[in-house]
Every structure is written in structure tokens, then in C-alpha cells.
Symmetry: C2
Subunit: 239 residues, 2 copies
């Protein structure tokens, strides 16, 4: 039994961990959904700074497995990938999957900073002018460059998956990133759509997997909203 610690009310980076746990069919307690908001926030504080946590994390998501508390999304997925056959067993394949996840993490961080280019601690409204500029650069330059990269990786495997011939956690994460980008930037993603045949096919394949389909149809799956990483602000999606 795992315990997932993440902020209530947003899919956020916790969702990358949830998708891996769901695909694995792993039993887990989701602190954000199984507790009241105030209890969840207390539990997160405990996970990050509790005296019994020998290896404290800087931020959530944190996954508790037995007596271990594991932080950093890509690191959690590396751990789960090895345990639940969501990454190749070989060192080479495991590292390559991690590399792809870290590149997705870079894209996620840049997507976040489109609406918070100045500071995560300020409101969007306090940094809207800078957000417009950063978003224009993101949708014009960075977003196509990242997505073209993943198209190229998919073209090389030719299997429909990013790594080898089987699903990995990187595929689940690309599915989530694609969903978030389409929520936040429908115009920009619409303009790129024809250039993303392999990513689109991968996402279709992911959402048809029985456990993922069941998860997406369940109340456990959260909608995107304007509190999370991927936010839809029409003024940031002008193309």
C-alpha cells in the first residue's frame, strides 16, 4: 500500500504519479482526496518536515512506500517503473526512460511559468504582462520544439511507444502533458495538431488501456483548473 502526498484541488505533478499507480493497479491512499483539505495540508507538512522522515523532500509529490518517503516526480516514477514493469528492466532502458521523463518535466516547468513568470507566490493578475510575453515565446518556439522532439523519438521506435515496444511511465506522462497543453493552449495546440500524429496516436492508445480508461471515468480523475500547472487563460493563447 502506497501513500501519495500532494496538494488537494489540482491534478498538478501528482497526476503523473497517479497515472503510473493506476496503470500498475497498485493500491494507494491519495491524501489529497481521502482526507479533508486541512487534514491533507497537515499531512503534507508532516511528510516534508516530520522528524521521522529520514530523507525529507523539498516539495510534493511525495510517495510513501513502507518506511521510505520518496520525492521528485521523475524519481518517484523511476522507482515505480522498476517495481511495476513500467520501464525496461535493463539499466540502459531504465535510464533512457528517466531521461525522457526529465525532458517532459522541463516542458511542464516551462508550461507552468507561462502564467507565473515572475513568482509562484504572486497572483497571475500581478504578472499578466510578463505572462503574455512568456506565453507568446512558449507557444511560438518552445512548445513546437519540445513536441517535435517527442515526435522524433516516437518515429525512431516506430512501436507507438516512446521506449521500446511496451508502455512506460514516460508514455503516461506524455499523455498527461498533452492533455494539459490542450486544456491550457487550445489555439496553439490546434495549430500544431497536424504535426503531432504520433503523439496523438500514443495518447489515444493510452486512454484506451482498461485501467487508464476506468481511472479517467472515475471520480478520482480531477479536471484541470486555474489553480494548477496547466491553466486556461485565453489571453495567453493568442495565435
Amino acid at each position: 500500500m502506497y501513500e501519495l502526498y500532494y496538494w488537494p484541488g489540482i491534478p498538478g505533478r501528482g497526476e503523473f504519479v497517479r497515472l503510473a499507480l493506476e496503470e500498475a493497479g497498485a493500491a494507494y491512499v491519495d491524501i489529497a482526496q481521502d482526507k479533508s483539505e486541512s487534514a491533507a495540508i497537515r499531512a503534507i507538512a508532516q511528510a516534508l518536515t516530520g522528524k521521522d522522515v529520514a530523507q525529507p523532500s523539498f516539495a510534493v509529490p511525495v510517495l510513501k512506500s513502507g518506511r521510505r518517503w520518496i520525492g521528485q516526480t521523475a524519481n518517484i516514477l523511476f522507482f515505480l517503473g522498476a517495481r511495476h514493469h513500467l520501464a525496461p528492466a535493463s539499466d540502459t532502458g531504465a535510464l533512457w526512460t528517466l531521461q525522457l521523463q526529465l525532458t517532459l518535466a522541463d516542458l511542464v516547468a516551462e508550461a507552468h511559468d507561462t502564467h507565473h513568470p515572475i513568482a509562484g507566490s504572486l497572483y497571475f493578475e500581478e504578472q499578466k504582462a510578463a505572462a503574455r510575453q512568456r506565453s507568446a515565446n512558449f507557444t511560438d518556439q518552445r512548445l513546437p520544439k519540445f513536441l517535435d522532439y517527442f515526435e522524433r523519438v516516437l518515429a525512431r521506435t516506430g512501436s507507438g511507444y516512446l521506449v521500446g515496444r511496451r508502455l512506460s511511465y514516460a508514455d503516461l506522462s506524455l499523455f498527461q502533458v498533452n492533455a494539459g497543453l490542450r486544456y491550457a493552449f487550445p489555439n496553439a495546440m490546434g495549430a500544431l495538431d497536424a504535426a503531432l500524429p504520433r503523439i496523438n496516436a500514443l495518447c489515444e492508445r493510452v486512454q484506451q488501456r482498461p485501467r487508464i480508461a476506468a481511472y479517467l471515468a472515475s471520480p478520482r480523475r480531477q479536471n484541470f483548473n486555474e489553480e494548477g500547472i496547466f491553466r486556461h487563460y485565453p489571453e495567453l493563447d493568442q495565435t
Copy 2:
């Protein structure tokens, strides 16, 4: 024999890999320093997009090891850590070291964005107003929070190292981050100095290691400058 592909003229993220290679006493070709600038840039393009690169990286640094091309700084260090005893051999210890490295990578990305909050493709002068705001938030809030975290981790081990009782690549990276932060933000880091006894002691210990000391005294070690991640712009270091 390794080959390191990274941009010429800056220490940048390549420096985290160089420090690990130097501490390991590993033989490596540094493309940025062993080739002319134009030849280095052609070699980087080949490393990122060459047809013989089965697993292409999105960006440098890239480390070539035999026929493998490995990207993403933390991923390269995970690979080198296992090969050169720069991380614990146990799965738990290896993942914990990776987690610390990923948290350092988050700090590095935020330090970079202080001078480029809008876009990496624009000049600093084109985003100076936003940079001032982001830097003020970084030095007031984010920087102390990150450094306090690493102080807490060092307090828990009590060994003078971040992980267990031996040097790991995360220690080398913290040394480099500290050096970069002191270059970029001498006022902010000076104000924090008294709160960083364990980080300061760790950095002293790292720079006295024989191979690191020899490297730092060699022409291979590059100075920080205003082209890299850590840049000294006095207007961003107002405290």
C-alpha cells in the same frame, strides 16, 4: 573514454558533469574545450540529431559512453554515480542521491530564470524589468528556502555529506551551485552566509579533495560569466 558535449564558453550545466568526471579520475574528451567553437557547435548538433544516435537528447549536456548517448544532467550523473562510486550502490541510496540532484536542478533552473524570466531567446536587456522582479522574489524567498533545505539534509546525516558518510555527485553539484550563487548574488548570499554553516563546510571539503583541487587550478576550469546560468548583474542582487 567518455565524450562530453556541451556549449563552449560557459561552465553551465556541463560543469556538473565535469566535476563528477574529474573526481572519478575518468578519461574524457571535452568537446567544448578540445575543439574550435564552430567545430564544437557542429559536434553538438550531430550529438542531438545525428542519424546514428538511437536515443537522441533534447539538449546538452550529453555524455557519450561507448555507443550510448546520455542526456539530462541528473540522468548523466546517476549513470556516472553508479559506475564511479559517486553514489551509494543500494537502490535506496541511489534514488535518494538522484532526488537531491533533481532538487538542485530545480534551484539551478530558478537561478537561470532570474535573468531570463520571459524567454531564453531574448537578451537580458529586453527583459530587465521582469528580471528585477523575479530576482527579488528569488533572493527573498526561493533561495533561502532551497538552501535551508540542504542545510537540514546535512544536519540529518551529520557526516558533512548529503548522502550517508561519503562524497556523492550531489555534494559536487551543491559545491558548484554554491559557487555560482556566490558569483551571481554576492549580496544575497552574504546576507545568508551565517545560516549556511554546513553548506560552507561541505564546499570547503569538496574543494580540498585532491582531484577537485587540481581541476580547479587547471585551465580546464572555466570562470563564470554573463553568458551562462549564473550571471552577475548588480541590479538583480539588491538586498
